[in-house]
């Protein structure tokens, strides 16, 4: 216990010893890290054509392929036509939450206009019940992207941060603290 007390005092001393210039330097460093992360994210958006190139699976409706917390990598290139069997991530008009399901039926006109129906692998019925009142089909504009790859489990952190806001603040606080104090 004494050793721990000593360590925390050293820690605070370090902070006090940093003069103003060093503090500004650390803040700029922090800003650069945040900007780089944003740039990478925007770059991904451009390359994949999707406004949300990485999504977290939120429900169990695609089990056993995907579970809650899995991370999906999407592309949304216009040249890629929507075909049955593909896993699409879409948003229903007026709702914020994206849904990850599989395309069950498509009807495409000569000019490329397409309407399609989706269904979750783990659901007994197709998604018509989920669509907006009076809406029977999905269209290209509802699509956020097509799932091209995935990594399991990693997205759990995002779900935890959503469900337990205290956890999110704790993580952000610790991150901020670490970056500000760490001397590099």
């Amino acid at each position: 216990a004494a050793a721990a007390a000593m360590l925390s005092l050293d820690f605070l001393d370090d902070v006090r010893r940093m003069n103003k210039r060093q503090l500004y330097y650390q803040v700029l460093n922090f800003g650069m890290i945040v900007s780089s992360a944003l740039m990478i994210w925007k770059g991904l958006m451009v390359v994949t054509g999707s406004e949300s190139p990485i999504v977290v699976v939120l429900s169990g409706s695609m089990e056993p392929a995907f579970h809650r917390g899995d991370l999906l990598f999407l592309t949304n290139r216009i040249e890629d036509p929507i075909r049955v069997g593909e896993i699409v991530v879409f948003r229903i008009e007026g709702r914020e939450i994206p849904i990850v399901h599989r395309v069950l039926k498509i009807h495409e006109k000569q000019n490329g206009d397409i309407k399609f129906l989706t269904k979750g692998d783990n659901n007994a019925v197709d998604d018509r019940g989920l669509y907006k009142q009076g809406q029977h089909w999905l269209e290209k504009k509802d699509v956020v992207g097509r799932a091209r790859g995935f990594v399991p489990y990693i997205g759990i952190v995002t779900i935890l941060m959503n469900d337990y806001p205290k956890f999110k603040y704790a993580v952000l606080f610790l991150l901020g603290l670490f970056v500000l104090v760490h001397r590099e």
Binding site: P64, A65, R83, V84, G85, E86, I87, R102, L104, K105, I106, H107, E108, K109, Q110, K115, D121, D126, A147, R148, G149, F150, V151, P152
Partner: protein
């Protein structure tokens, strides 16, 4: 490869409803430890160490006056790693209603049925593969109105 038997169409509201019964025999090669290779150019390992499951689906593709391209999934199945990779299903009815968007099934001579699958890895890319071999099925020119399904 599979063969199948087409049935009949019936109008529902204003859209054609098709009924197809089919047989599926498929042999999806299962590599025991993923290290075997087959030199026969027609076979290859599908189930390797990174494959969690295959999502198989039988889809019907056809063209109508209303729509240049239509694809309808008639049947699907999840095949987990470790399941029997040989499929031999006979006299299967379609799992999902085969509704057309309009009346394009009546007299449509060319409905192509294909077996495809989505490879779901433990982690990584999600490819869609189409099996070799597909069957063309014609629908008759008249509706059947009383047959039960």
């Amino acid at each position: 490869l599979r063969k199948n038997v087409e049935d009949f169409t019936g109008p529902r509201e204003r859209s054609d409803l098709g009924f197809v019964t089919f047989d599926i025999t498929a042999d999806i090669l299962n590599g025991k430890n993923g290290l075997q290779t087959c030199w026969n150019k027609n076979t290859f390992i599908i189930f390797d160490w990174n494959v969690k499951q295959l999502f198989l689906y039988l889809s019907a593709e056809y063209s109508t006056k209303n729509n240049a391209l239509n694809q309808v999934v008639l049947w699907d199945k999840i095949m987990l790693r470790g399941d029997n990779p040989r499929l031999s299903l006979k006299d299967m009815k379609s799992k999902y209603f085969f509704f057309d968007d309009g009346n394009g099934l009546k007299g449509n001579r060319n409905i192509t049925l294909t077996l495809s699958w989505n490879v779901v890895p433990n982690a990584g890319i999600l490819p869609l593969v189409t099996g070799s071999g597909h069957v063309s099925v014609p629908f008759p020119d008249t509706y059947e109105t009383t047959k039960s399904y």
